[in-house]
Each structure stands twice: as structure tokens, then as C-alpha cells.
């Protein structure tokens, strides 16, 4: 597999240098691997910190800026960051109003963020954590690692970020983040595996004519392998999986997300089928985002995330945001 890289070892550092070069309104500490909003800490504002393995860009570094995250901590590709990064980020963004850690529910992320919360607490930063676990493909249970955090992370970061920007206190921002997570569900599909720079070959074999249903965002195989399906069939499967779990009875936000290697033309075509399927199931979609937002390197495929919203959440969605990956209203 050919890649546009120098050597696998410097992929994350090179990416951070390039992010810094493109976005002068971000403070990028390449050595310590943290991306911070340039005007942080913002007086009186709760600081939002997230992070996770690299390879999901624009998540999370591309979502740093007014109206969304205050800082992001990128780990190695598909590997959660280390506690030092989040502790340092927390210190950088804390204005005294406290810091919220937004953690995708993976063992590695949870353990490293929890250690970071302890370290930050030792330094006198008030830290609250919220877990994102929106992936319906995984059966939730007390005895397992639980559901993964995937596309719902974007909604949590955007809506909690808007609340924080408006000056909501830490407990309120955390409550909104939890509310968004509880009201978000995702389902992903892979048409191809992805290739990590370190490994250099696809993370799994997917024969022509087959696809994986219920994948995560780390190049892991899904819950089920099936004969190739049409866009229409995939949309029905994804919508069914999400809707049966979420049971929306009112308006939803929709994220039709590309895994990285699927052309935007196809994603839009898939979006048409998603809207058809949701229309048939009488689910009103009030906002739709189509594109590569929570990716898996070069994997071909897509995920669907729905988020139930009330007027307040919809207002927070429409609130201004100014980040490399998501921008409107300013």
C-alpha cells in the first residue's frame, strides 16, 4: 500500500506540523502532541478537551476552535494518547471554570483519560469526564467493554462546545454532552479495510463481493460479513439498526459520514437513500451533514449517526462554529 508519507514513525508529527501551517489560529504543540485553540484559556469558559488515536481526521484536531473543542490530544494512529497529553491540555485550557474530557469509549482511551484526570486533579484543575458510546453494532453489557464511541462524538463535541461557548458552567456542559450521547446512535459499514502506516497492509481481508456490517473506526472487522449490497440496501440496514435502538419520536440530526476512501459523490447518493429510508419510517431529519468527519484512514465505507434533538439542542447545533473541519456562522 502506497502512502503519501515520509516514514510511518513521523506520520502524526508531520500531520500536526501541516495542521499548524494551514491553521494559524490553532496553537499546535508538535512535541507534546496537543492542539489548542489560540485564545485559550478563554476567561470564564469551561474548557473542552478530547482526543484519541490518530487516523480519524478531521476528528479531533480539526474540531478545535470557537464553538467546539478547546484542545485535542492525538495519539499514534489508532492508539489512544497518553495521560500526559490530556493533563497538559487541561492545564492549557482551564480558565478556572473547569474542564470537560470527552472520551470515546475504548478501553485505551478510558484508561489513559482517567489517569490524565487524576494528574490534572492533582494540579488543581476541576475535571469532569463524559463517555461517548453511540455504536449500536456492539451489544452493550456490564460485562463487556461496552459500545464504541464513533460518529456521535461529533455531535457531543459540537453541542457541548456551543453550550460552553455561551458560558454554561461545567455541570451544565457535562449534562448536555451526556444528553447528546444518550440521544445519538451510529452504525458503520466497510467496503474495504484500511491500511495503517505502521502495518502497511490492510487490517483485514475483505474479498471482492463482500462487505462488513457493524464496523468501528479502527480498521477492525465488523460484526458480520455479507455479500455486497446496494446503497439502498445498506441504507435500509443502517437506518433500521439505528432507529430500532434510538426509537426517535421527533426531529433528528443526521451525519452521513465517509470512512475516508469513499468518494463524496457516493456519499451523497447514499444520503439520498438514507433520507428515503428515514422518510419511510417517518423520522424527520432537521439537519444533515454529509462528508468525511470521523474516518478510518483510507477505508471505503460509511457510517450513519442520528441524534435526537429538542429546540435547545437544535439551537446549539446552529450556533456559530469555527474550526478547520466544521465551520459556520462566523
Amino acid at each position: 500500500m502506497k502512502m503519501l508519507i515520509n516514514v510511518p514513525e513521523t506520520v502524526v508529527a508531520d500531520g500536526l506540523r501541516g495542521l499548524a501551517a494551514a491553521h494559524p489560529d490553532l496553537n499546535v504543540d508538535v512535541d507534546n502532541r496537543i492542539v489548542v485553540r489560540r485564545d485559550a484559556p478563554v476567561a470564564g469558559k469551561v474548557g473542552l478537551v478530547s482526543g484519541g488515536g490518530s487516523g480519524h481526521e478531521p476528528l479531533h484536531g480539526g474540531f478545535v476552535g470557537p464553538g467546539m473543542l478547546d484542545a485535542a490530544c492525538p495519539g499514534e494512529v489508532f492508539t489512544s494518547p497518553v495521560p500526559d497529553q490530556m493533563a497538559r491540555a487541561a492545564a492549557a485550557v482551564d480558565s478556572g471554570a473547569g474542564v470537560l474530557f470527552i472520551i470515546k469509549n475504548y478501553t485505551g482511551d478510558v484508561l489513559n483519560f482517567e489517569m490524565a484526570a487524576e494528574l490534572a486533579g492533582d494540579e488543581g484543575v476541576q475535571v469532569t469526564t463524559v463517555l461517548v458510546n453511540d455504536d449500536v453494532a456492539v451489544t452493550d453489557s456490564l460485562y463487556t467493554a461496552g459500545r464504541r464511541g464513533t460518529g456521535g462524538t461529533l455531535f457531543v463535541e459540537k453541542l457541548a462546545g456551543a453550550a460552553a461557548e455561551e458560558g454554561a458552567p461545567l455541570d451544565r456542559v457535562a449534562a448536555i454532552a451526556r444528553q447528546v450521547n444518550e440521544n445519538s446512535r451510529s452504525f458503520g459499514v466497510a467496503l474495504s479495510a484500511c491500511t495503517t502506516p505502521a502495518k502497511g497492509t490492510p487490517t483485514f481481508d475483505l474479498p471482492p463481493g463482500e462487505l462488513e456490517l457493524g464496523i468501528g473506526i479502527h480498521g477492525e472487522p465488523g460484526r458480520e460479513r455479507r455479500a455486497m449490497m446496494t446503497s439502498r440496501e445498506i441504507a435500509d440496514a443502517a437506518v433500521d439498526a439505528v432507529v430500532e435502538d434510538l426509537r426517535p419520536d421527533g426531529p433528528v440530526l443526521a451525519l452521513v459520514n465517509g470512512m475516508g476512501g469513499t468518494p463524496l459523490l457516493e456519499l451523497y447518493g447514499f444520503n439520498a437513500e438514507v433520507h428515503r429510508a428515514l422518510g419511510e419510517r417517518r423520522v424527520p431529519v432537521v439537519r444533515t451533514l454529509v462528508g468525511n468527519y470521523v474516518t478510518s484512514l483510507d477505508m471505503a465505507g460509511c457510517s450513519l449517526t442520528l441524534c435526537r434533538v429538542d429546540d435547545e439542542l437544535l439551537r446549539l447545533w446552529d450556533a456559530p462554529v469555527r474550526t478547520p473541519g466544521l465551520r459556520w456562522g462566523c
Binding site: 488515536g53 495519539g75 499514534e76 494512529v77 489508532f78 492508539t79 489512544s80 494518547p81 497518553v82 495521560p83 500526559d84 475504548y106 478501553t107 485505551g108 484508561l111 489513559n112 489517569m115 453494532a137 456492539v138 451489544t139 460485562y143 463487556t144 467493554a145 464504541r148 495503517t196 505502521a198 502495518k199 487490517t203 483485514f204 468501528g216 479502527h218 480498521g219 477492525e220 472487522p221 460484526r223
Partner: protein
């Protein structure tokens, strides 16, 4: 993996800082040598980074120990643990970091430790791992290699064996424990996302645990990397 019994009549070494550093050198070499296989195993039921993760961690740990060598075995293990936490990330970083930091702290600042003290320290570290990760035996994780290894070591010592023999037993138990993860259904870590499809693959963390235990045994036998 070399499963041959220790040379009969091998003298038991002292568990001191030098022993801990011999272990680190052997463990680092083993991780380096087996990194691709660990990543391959992680590719089947995880995210294809376990070998890369451990290589990064042990390289950092070796460098730190070389730069400023602690004078006690506990100091070495604790420093390695801190380095793993600070450089690996992922699930294995905090877990292995907790194991070694816990074991090191348990040894305190004694210049040497008895085989029984080493065994107790490893168990203490292991309990920290179980607490942190919330996994139990049979969940298809590193615990399935580590628990049997520490149990075998303790049983061996109880039966009057010395360090070399006890770690020889631990190594065999770790290898068997790792192999026993193949038919297990994963309930923790990334492999759990695969449900039934996790069955039939050996757990990468259990596999690397067996490497680390093997290095402990080889260091006792006087081997160097």
C-alpha cells in the same frame, strides 16, 4: 518461544537491579523480534497496533533506564512502568504500566528481593491491572497469561523450588495461558466488538505477556539479550 527446561543445576541469581535490567533487555529484544507477529494478531481481532505500541514503549523504557539507571529492582520496574504509561497509549500502555509500576512499588527500595518477594510484587501489580481494566480470567486478555504465570510461580516456590525453576514453571503457564485464549470469546478490549468472530484467534496481549514472563525466566537463567 523456547520452552526447554532450565539447564539442570543452574544457580539462582539474586533479584537485584542488574537482574531487573537483564529482564528489560531481554523483554525489549523479544518485543522487537515479535512486534510484527503481535501486530498481526491484533489485526485479526483488534486494531493492528499491539506490536508497534509495545516496541515504542520498551524502546522508551530502555532508554530511560539506561540514561538514569535506578539502583534497585523495584526502581527499575517502576521506571519501566511509568515509561510505558507515558509512551504507549492504547489499552496496553496503562495496563502493563500499572503492572510494572505496581510491582516496582511493592518491592520498595530494597536492593534485593527474595523470589517470594518478587512473586508477591508481581501479584500486587497484577491485581492493579485487574482492578484498572475490570477484566476477569477467561475474558481473553493479558490476564489469561499473567494469572496462570503468577499462580505457577507461587505454587512452585511453595513447593520449595528456587527462582529459576519457579520462573520456568511460570513461563510454561504463561505460554499455555496465551494459547488457551484462542477458543475464548472476548469480553474486554477491542476484540469484544467482534463478538463470536473473536473466537479462534489468540489474544495479542496474552501473547506479549508470555514474552515478558519468558524474559523474566531467561534473565534468571543468566541469559542476556
Amino acid at each position: 518461544m523456547n520452552a526447554s527446561a532450565p539447564a539442570s543445576g543452574a544457580t539462582d541469581p539474586v533479584v537485584d537491579a542488574a537482574y531487573a535490567r537483564r529482564w528489560l533487555a531481554l523483554a525489549t529484544a523479544a518485543v522487537e523480534r515479535e512486534a510484527d507477529r503481535l501486530t498481526e494478531l491484533d489485526s485479526a481481532i483488534g486494531d493492528a497496533d499491539h506490536g508497534t505500541n509495545l516496541r515504542r514503549g520498551f524502546t522508551a523504557a530502555s532508554a530511560a533506564v539506561e540514561k538514569d539507571p535506578p539502583g534497585t529492582p523495584g526502581g527499575v520496574l517502576a521506571l519501566v512502568g511509568r515509561q510505558l504509561i507515558g509512551s504507549v497509549g492504547g489499552a496496553s500502555g496503562p495496563l502493563y504500566g500499572t503492572l510494572l509500576r505496581g510491582a516496582g512499588k511493592h518491592l520498595g527500595d530494597a536492593e534485593t528481593a527474595s523470589p517470594e518477594e518478587l512473586c508477591g510484587a508481581l501479584r500486587a501489580g497484577l491485581e492493579g491491572v485487574a482492578r484498572l481494566g475490570g477484566a476477569a480470567a477467561g475474558d481473553k486478555t493479558m490476564l489469561d497469561a499473567l494469572f496462570p504465570a503468577v499462580d505457577a510461580m507461587a505454587f512452585s516456590l511453595d513447593s520449595g523450588a528456587g527462582l529459576v525453576a519457579a520462573l520456568g514453571a511460570a513461563r510454561i503457564a504463561a505460554d499455555e495461558g496465551a494459547a488457551a485464549t484462542v477458543p475464548m470469546l472476548a469480553r474486554k478490549g477491542r476484540a469484544s466488538y467482534l463478538g463470536e468472530r473473536s473466537v479462534g484467534h489468540q489474544d495479542p496481549g496474552a501473547t506479549s505477556s508470555a514474552l515478558l514472563v519468558t524474559a523474566l525466566a531467561e534473565a534468571a537463567e543468566g541469559g542476556t539479550a
